[in-house]
């Protein structure tokens, strides 16, 4: 993905993308392809299927999300992911931490929070 120094940025990105997935699922459940498409709408968060599915598998194993098969209006059934109660809690904490970090980083990087 990012050319050059990969190790730290990729770890960094992984954490952010994980939070992004939890944020998506906080609002509504979604299936794998949908999650990839929705994240793809944000250039900074776009991930490939090769990244998305291992991440979903890990979130599921750690109990933050659950999955269930549902009939699809078109084509075969799809596996939908949703936040578990534990995941809702974790998402709340992570979102809070993210906001604190974002403000701190904005001021450290000497930028006003211009986007509004």
């Amino acid at each position: 993905m990012a050319a050059g120094s990969e190790a730290i940025p990729s770890q960094f990105r992984k954490g952010v993308v994980e939070l992004a997935i939890l944020a998506l699922l906080h609002n509504e459940e979604a299936y794998g392809g949908e999650i990839i498409d929705r994240l793809g709408e944000y250039p900074g968060l776009a991930i490939s299927a090769g990244t998305a599915y291992p991440l979903l598998s890990r979130l599921k194993r750690s109990g933050l999300i659950t999955s269930v098969w549902r009939e699809s209006p078109v084509g075969p059934p799809r596996k939908y992911y949703q936040l578990s109660a534990e995941g809702e809690g974790a998402f709340g904490g992570m979102a809070k931490a993210w906001n604190n970090m974002k403000d701190a980083m904005d001021s450290l990087l000497g930028r006003e929070t211009t986007h509004e």
Binding site: T66, S67, W69
Partner: protein, 317 residues
Amino acid sequence: MSDGQGSETGGALTPDAAAVIDGYFARFQVEALAAGTHGWDDAVADLKDHVRDRLDETAATPEDAIRVLSELGAPEALAAAYAQGLLAEEGSPGLTGRFLGVPYDIRTPSSQRFASRWWNPLDRRILVPKALGVGWTVNFGALAVHTHVVRPDDEDVPFAAVPPRIVAATLALPLVALIAFAVLAATSWSRLPARVPTHWGISGEANGYGSRGSTLLFLSVMTAVPVALAVLVHLRRRPPFNRVGASALSLSLTTLALAVLVQTLFTLGGGAGLWPMWLGLVCSVVLPFVLLVGGSRIGRDAEQRRDLSGAPTKGRK
């Protein structure tokens, strides 16, 4: 195990609290051993230090110890988490790594590792480091995803939802191939000359020969050992993932040995060409692929039946 170095210096732990901590880590290690991975001593030492650090802030009573340990979760869950972490990062420096860019792995082989290299639909790489030895092997899971015959998240855990009798039935395929090999070897033995072709040029002419006995012995070992190991994996009631993987791997090797034997008989019978060998090679890839994809489909269908039958229930764990 003996990991008390220096960590005792912190707070004065009451014997009761120390007993609680030791009891916890004894359970942790039992689980860790059951998970079949090694390299726990560092992890246990780190965790014990962490617990002692936390207890320094308290009166270090047994109740405090229980409370601090409960933050770590049940020892069984913790051991499972560590097992996954260790397997994922492929620790054991020296026994696994890369030499001149080529991956190697000479750790004690496990049916779990073989299965996870052969079938990992989450990994997009078609060539993955071998489970044992030097070089790469095919990840049939990636092949299946790239050819759109399965989706990466079709199954939560590969083959876990496959009915037990189907898991057991997968062993029939390598067994049938082994029997075919044995019957063919036994019936053709007397017709074989003392020296038989063992190596062929690209156009099919034999260019290497070996003695009848050693050639057949080699081929027999090549088919019987993997099948015997697969039988063991099944008899020991390993997880369905390991069992289906072992069936597929032994099927591949048995098919290959059968192909070499057929090619030998074909050449001796005056046949020209290498097509039995090529056909065998193709079968040694296609048959396990079909077996693994079939298993995955059955597992996925079982998951779907669980979720889609009747009322739309919430997903279970």
